[in-house]
Symmetry: C2
Subunit: 204 residues, 2 copies
């Protein structure tokens, strides 16, 4: 549907940062344009409305998540090690594409965007379906680990929601401008994965 042309990518990056900092409704097309050193004529030339712009940021954010996690699905090791690799890849992707993934989370929370055209409504449904597919990747992998007797006796659905929540909450406290070294991101991601997989309680 929408192609990520260079001109659009520049707009998407500016928009992602604005949406992250101020939220969808508080962000005006003017400030998105000003962040690029342009005026809103440029934005409206490439996007018919603010909602469509938001949806495209969301779409790119999801693409980046899938691209990050997909290779990890074929990582070597047993089903639990694959799950761990997927979690780590997910965490790293959120650090690396902080603004875009913040917008994705914002999209999860927003219940109403105002009046939507039929086409926009359809695109929103598609985005929600994409989020469910992403969660399903983890649910399937966790189920595989369970079949291999590698998983604790937990409700897989709730456990997956909980672990994704634990990872995604890093969007709140991670400050990309403070310490964005690759080494530090690795350390944080591994610490989160370790906590979620092994738990806080000491193992006997």
């Amino acid at each position: 549907m929408s192609e990520f042309t260079p001109a659009r990518l520049e707009i998407l990056h500016a928009a992602a940062e604005c949406f992250m900092e101020q939220g969808f409704h508080a962000t005006s097309i003017d400030v998105v344009a000003r962040r690029m050193g342009a005026t809103k004529g440029r934005v409206y030339h490439h996007y018919p409305s603010k909602v469509d712009l938001f949806f495209d940021v969301h779409r790119l954010g999801m693409d980046l998540l899938f691209s990050a996690v997909e290779p990890a699905r074929h990582a070597p090791g047993d089903a639990l090690e694959v799950l761990a690799a997927m979690m780590k890849a997910h965490a790293l992707a959120m650090f690396e594409h902080h603004a875009f993934e913040s917008v994705v989370v914002q999209g999860v929370q927003l219940h109403r965007f105002g009046a939507l055209t039929p086409r926009q409504h359809q695109e929103l449904e598609a985005l929600i379906a994409t989020r469910d597919q992403f969660e399903a990747l983890f649910k399937e992998q966790a189920s595989a680990a369970r079949r291999a007797k590698l998983l604790a006796n937990v409700d897989v659905s709730i456990a997956v929601k909980t672990l994704l929540g634990g990872l995604q909450w890093s969007l709140i406290w991670y400050r990309p401008e403070i310490d964005d070294s690759a080494k530090n991101r690795e350390r944080l991601a591994e610490a989160m994965v370790r906590t979620l997989l092994l738990g806080l309680a000491a193992r006997a």
Copy 2:
């Protein structure tokens, strides 16, 4: 500073639901008033501005969290069992006061509210400090558990952020209107706590 009088509580409940559903910026004072079957004159009589109203919702939301977790801090058992009780109380409070706690999380994410008066800026700082205090409760308890050799070898700061994220993410997927029985909430809270404390990986 602000007292939760009955008249104000009615406004706060209506506002919490509107803020949850539509977000701060998209919520107009008109719809808050309409939800009470009133007009905005009533709201402005009790609150000088929308920001002040939002802050008071946030404040009540934090009060409810502290009130829920405080008793659990004196629960019987070792340091780890106390931590578990605190986590469960926190989860239950978020189910029970879903709208208010959604607004609290929203406040965590919002970086800019627009222009704030000096007094409002000061109140915002106080709210942020309150959130830090709440997190500190869990950090201290986790440290106590570590001193008692009950904790796994994890970074306490990251582990606490991760576990709070796992719990708080339930605000996204929990639907209070679907199944709000006390029994179901207990089940969900216990499943989350169990996952976070014991981890997903099977124990040898």
